[in-house]
Symmetry: C2
Subunit: 205 residues, 2 copies
């Protein structure tokens, strides 16, 4: 039946969900935010630790609560699950199309990793693990909701002032993921890695 996804129920009458999935993808770029601002710059590799990318503005075991988590008093320390920003070229191209721009570059919006070979990267479920050659591993925290801060960076980079508000309005579901480091190691640009998606099951009360 078009427009409906059918999920078989298991023996207990619960939706059986989707089993674990594993496949190979490609890390095509590595970038670091080690300047004054929000933007990143390409580097050949990133040696990540359990605190994230050393020298990057988003490194740390903790971070101050900000406008993304308004239910915590602003500035109080929360655990940092947003150590790295991951984007996909096909999703950035779709954002550019929606904004009427020629391109949206990973470095404009502070991306650390450019990922190829993961369809609908932004929709990868929380808890997905990314295992890199040599032992580094990341855990997906979830979607990186597009904010006006990144919109302002896009507007400044492309010279279109409208992008500041259009970006948060139109880039939802396309702006990539945030992730934290589970195991330290090196992330090398232009290399393959393994994606381990956990079993998925929809929960309702």
């Amino acid at each position: 039946m078009p427009g409906v996804v059918e999920i078989q129920a298991d023996l207990f009458g619960e939706p059986a969900g989707i089993p674990a999935q594993r496949f190979t993808a490609r890390l095509s770029g590595t970038l670091i935010a080690d300047g004054a601002g929000f933007a990143t710059r390409p580097v050949p590799s990133l040696a990540v630790t359990l605190e994230g990318v050393p020298g990057d503005r988003h490194a740390g075991h903790s971070r101050p609560a900000d406008s993304r988590v308004p239910w915590y008093p602003r500035g109080t320390p929360i655990r940092n699950a947003r150590q790295l920003s991951l984007v996909a070229p096909d999703e950035l191209a779709e954002i550019a199309r929606r904004l009427g721009l020629r391109e949206v570059r990973p470095e404009w919006i502070g991306a650390n990793l450019v990922i190829e070979g993961v369809p609908r990267l932004t929709a990868l479920p929380p808890g997905t693990r990314l295992h890199f050659p040599g032992g580094a591993a990341l855990a997906v925290e979830g979607e990186n909701a597009p904010c006006r801060h990144a919109g302002a960076a896009v507007a400044a980079a492309c010279g279109e002032a409208s992008a500041e508000l259009d970006f948060p309005r139109l880039a939802g579901g396309l702006r990539g993921l945030v992730a934290w480091v589970e195991h330290a190691g090196e992330l090398v640009a232009d290399s393959p890695f393994e994606v381990h998606v956990p079993p998925q099951r929809l929960w309702t009360r």
Copy 2:
């Protein structure tokens, strides 16, 4: 149609998934593993920090890789997303029924929090947040898969040697969750808290 869960597709032909859910549940018990072994003991409250429960054997920003993560060299530090163990009385009762025991007590299997009012607690999706009065907040890492270590603890506590192997075989999907602290604060036994389940969408390649 019986045995099938139908999920409407969205405008882009993707499964629309389930929107965010919020509801109130109850923290009925708080326990700490501050002795020599695996077991916990009830306490009136737990003052959690970003490292977990101070003095508990599972506290820390990191933990050594163990048999749960055999893809990492054993003993190398990994980020600790298993700071607290959460269980539900109805699920423990079902484990007991399957094992032919009168009961399985939270302290036998090292639980830190006893949760009531969350149907199928063990199936709560990764990324779910638990917000407690006063500001403490936990993030759900995911299901706590039942291991032989906990089975041995059940066997010792109830005097039924068969439980050591029956527990890992029969307690799957019922043994509760592991979680990490997102915001420090106090968890007080016999108090309500808020459950924030993120939007859910099934991802396949």
